[in-house]
């Protein structure tokens, strides 16, 4: 120990650090690599041991074959529609609720807030059946047609938001009060305050929550699985799992190509927005 100089020791720990970091990146990244390499393998190549890390003759036609064996184009369209509309509603709801909870006086506000938070403890899986019956029988009784297998049915149950409200409320409360008071003195109403002052200041959280919301909608599985009945209404996650479930021989090459259809858009979003997501999330957690 003593024979090592301070500098040597520092260099040693640093190398160990880089090594450990590389190891972690490798462990986390390998499965994703496996998915990519699998998507380019022939069936024969999949079933050889030891496996090839890099496909010898990349079989790009796995992607076109997979694309053609289920209406993935339509799945994409459905996922995009439900994600965009669902997230827009969720963000609007979160913003309005958070503003009300942070800045507006109301009797038993804390109780309302607590009720909102308690909703986070109700797993959405538990509400699936009653909600299904609601969109079918109840809506049918009310308006004469069922909403099962419609976009509004996929979207609406996920349009209410507790986590986002909580996140944004915390962030709103953290804004400097002087600015808000000044706005008030200037005679700005609440809508103006929200739009011109609070939202611009809270933009990082808004972006973060927006991204989280988009991710959650895109990945949602059980509810679209239950509420959609026809292939042309299925979202990507439902489409991929029924593609995988098909009885008979699992063709991993095609299946891996299809999983990339699901994952790829989010990976792209992440590459461009990871800073927002990570830093926004951590800010929410550490300040909460």
């Amino acid at each position: 120990m003593d024979s090592l100089s301070m500098q040597d020791r520092r260099r040693l720990t640093r190398s160990v650090g880089y090594l450990a970091m590389a190891l972690i990146v490798l462990v986390i990244g390998l499965p994703v690599w496996w998915m990519f390499s699998g998507s380019l393998k022939t069936s024969q190549e999949i079933y050889t041991f030891p496996p090839d890390w890099i496909p010898r003759n990349p079989r790009w036609s796995n992607f076109t074959d997979a694309w053609q064996s289920a209406p993935f184009g339509r799945f994409y369209f459905n996922s995009i529609v439900t994600t965009v509309l669902g997230s827009a509603l969720e963000i609007t709801n979160a913003t309005l609720s958070a503003y009300a909870l942070a800045y507006l006086r109301f009797p038993f506000k804390n109780v309302i807030f607590a009720l909102l938070l308690a909703a986070m403890m109700i797993p959405s899986q538990v509400t699936v059946l009653p909600n299904y019956v609601f969109f079918g029988a109840t809506v049918f009784d009310l308006i004469g047609e069922s909403w099962v297998n419609t976009y509004q049915a996929i979207i609406l149950p996920g349009a209410s938001v507790a986590f986002g409200t909580f996140l944004m409320r915390q962030s709103f409360l953290g804004l400097p009060r002087e600015v808000l008071d000044a706005a008030k003195v200037d005679g700005a109403g609440h809508l103006r305050t929200l739009w011109d002052i609070v939202l611009p200041m809270a933009r990082p959280v808004l972006v973060t929550f927006g991204l989280i919301s988009v991710v959650a909608k895109w990945n949602d599985y059980l509810w679209p699985l239950v509420i959609t009945q026809t292939e042309n209404m299925r979202t990507l996650t439902v489409g991929i799992s029924s593609f995988y479930d098909l009885e008979g021989n699992t063709q991993w090459g095609l299946v891996m190509a299809a999983t990339i259809f699901v994952i790829f858009p989010l990976l792209v979003v992440f590459v461009f927005a990871q800073r927002f997501i990570i830093e926004g999330l951590t800010a929410g957690a550490t300040k909460g």
Binding site: Y47, Y132, V133, F135, G136, A137, F140, S146, V148, N149, V226, Q229, T230, E231, S242, D245, L246, E247, G248, N249, T250
Partner: protein, 452 residues
Amino acid sequence: MEEGHHAMSNRLNRRSLIKGAAGTAVGAAALGVSKRSKAFAAPTVIQETGSQVKVVFWSAFGGKNGEVEQELIRRFNESQQDVVVEYQFQGTYEETAQKVIAALQARQAPDLAVLSEANWFRFYANNYLAAMDELIAAEELDTADYVESFLTEGQRQDQQWWMSFARSTPLFYYNKQMWAEAGLPDRGPETYTEFAEWGPKLVKKNGNDVSQWGFLHAPATDYISWYHQGTVWAFDGAYSDEEFNVRLAEPNSVKSGEWLRSTVDAGWATASQDRTTDFINGISASMMQSTGQLANLKANAPFEFGAAFLPSEVNPGCPTGGAGMGILSTSPAEKQQAAFKYIAFATSPEITTFWSQNTGYMPVRKSASESPEMQTFYETNPNFRTAVEQLATTKPQDPARRFVPAGDSIIGKGLEELTVNRAEVQPTFEKIKGTLEEEAKPILEQVEAIEG
């Protein structure tokens, strides 16, 4: 008080179930009579208005079989102008049934659905299936040409409620190359005892790791209870009798369980979540699988395989299975008639032949299996013939699996305890028995309510 009520209704319902079973013979006869006795005007109405009737059809065939079925629908839609069938694939038999049930709650049920032999009864017991006799008469269906056991299985109270379409039996599939390597004759084992002698010869090991299994057991989610139905009969046991008395804990039934467990204990068989893929990839020398997988295996297995009867023991034992089609009673009469037109089309001799050759499901029409076309096909594809020949030894499954809600899953999970956890057989089967008896109560009450 409540106990007494249950006991009484139980007895009553058992009787009504027997009545239902006995009624099938009468039903067949009645069908013959009713066939031409009732004029049916509705189809002409459809023609008069000139509008097409849309039939929403939910089905359970994925992969290759799904493609074949879509071809059927394409041909049907092109063959006439009155009816358009809109096809929707919903998943496995179980998932399709769940979807239909959920859709009934949501008033969004399809007009026509593929329902497995273990699922249709539940819909019938709740009045959700449309009676077919009048429709059969209107279409002048030649019921005498249908394989009788397939036809009568869908009858209750002298009425047809469910029409066999994709009927199957389990087959014993084996890899001929591995069979030869192990020095075994080119046939399936004749008895379970013989199979137990062969099994160890088929195993290959890499140190402690098995690289080739002699046999793979199905998981509960892929109907192990269906395959074991054959085994339990072979040992002269049963899941239950026709009067709904569960017989699983009786000595002979337990013997079948002992055999099942012994295959795992002796190390030549194991449970697999996806044995078809494993079989195709040479991980197992044999498996039991449905006839409905014949075409898929033929297309994908890179080796020659044989399809044999299930082994016998004291008796031969092999259940029928697969699915048929039911028309939902929630649909308007016009759609029911239109839906039946599709049933008639899909089970016509010509289409039956096409369907059977391309999937492996058994022909439901006698004229189809006897046709020269089918006979030539059997010459070149002897594996396909095995299923049809085995039919003579098959019978419908015990009511405990077919009629008890989730009966398949209850028995299947119990059997999985043996193949996966190597549990003691007797207590495991006692436990299944208790559960089955408990779960049977509601359906018995419903049957009484509907059949009186």
